[in-house]
Amino acid sequence: MSGHSDELVLDRLIHEPSRLAILTVLSSVQAADFVFLQRVTGLTNGNLSSHLSKLEEAGLVRIEKRFVRKKPNTRAELTAEGTKRIARHWAQLERLRQLFEEHVAEEQV
């Protein structure tokens, strides 16, 4: 295979759609809480918890559990590593899309 495909290996941990959605949301803000992430991603409590735990174990997000007006509140933010990896992942997806379009254009010629 060419050098292109070697560089274009997608990060499987991030590429899972739910985790990609969580990281994309977190990449655009400083932090978001569990309720907001659930609203945006449409995940159930259990699924969101599970994905956040995996991302935390991988060192991509930092989770803070606290109480707001006596109610538990979970807040998530990207780590420096998470910021770098989600940016690289979207760049890889964009390159893949461009390569695909070039391939289609070549086939049409």
Binding site: A21, T24, V29, A31, G42, W90
Partner: protein, 196 residues
């Protein structure tokens, strides 16, 4: 999954919590009524009671948004940008009204400048939507109509009431937009193909 929609949902959420505009608009309208001495708002205690009620309603709205839609903290860059836009808007609004507010033309500089501030702020934070342009534009056009009387008349009081009504109307439309955007299972946010 649409990357832009996900990012936009997070960055615009704090600005689309439009229910806050209802007590804010009510406060503006109450200020206009107080200036005119209308009904209970015309008395100091009536107006102060209205301020207290508005504060209580705002607290309830804050709790509603936090419990229903959650909370986000904007990035430092977004917060700095917001501070600059607010500072420039307030300075321009006050400057225009100090310089032109007491002219004898029968227009409402207050309404026109407030409409312009609304448009600039919504353009900077969430991108202009049809309802922003329609309502703020209508307020500006109404302000430019030569029906407001001279500087000694009650034009600023009427302008405050119109500004309050416009703010509340935009807020209700913003909230409806937010509710649609963060509806559980919204396909453009949660599922489907990955789109950059």
């Amino acid at each position: 999954m649409d990357r832009a929609a996900l990012e936009s949902a997070a960055t615009t959420y704090p600005h689309l919590r439009g229910l806050f505009a209802i007590p804010a608009g009510a406060l503006m309208a109450a200020s206009g009524a107080y200036n005119q001495g209308w009904g209970p708002f015309g008395r100091v205690w009536g107006f102060l009671g209205c301020v207290a009620l508005v504060a209580l309603v705002a607290l309830g709205i804050q709790r509603y948004y936090r419990d229903t839609y959650g909370s986000v903290t904007l990035s430092g860059r977004a917060q700095a940008r917001m501070a600059v836009v607010v500072a420039v808007s307030v300075a321009a609004f006050l400057g225009v009204n100090v310089l032109l507010g007491s002219t004898d033309h029968p227009i409402s500089v207050l309404s026109v400048s407030f409409g312009a501030v609304l448009l600039v702020n919504y353009a900077a934070y969430v991108g202009l939507r049809v309802h922003h342009v329609a309502i703020a534009g209508a307020l500006m056009i109404a302000g430019l109509l030569p029906v407001w009387g001279d500087a000694d008349s009650s034009r600023d009081s009427y302008a405050l009431i119109a500004m309050g009504a416009a703010s509340a109307a935009i807020g209700i439309a913003d909230h409806r937009l937010l509710a649609r955007m963060l509806r559980p299972g919204t396909p453009e946010l949660g599922g489907g193909d990955v789109r950059a």
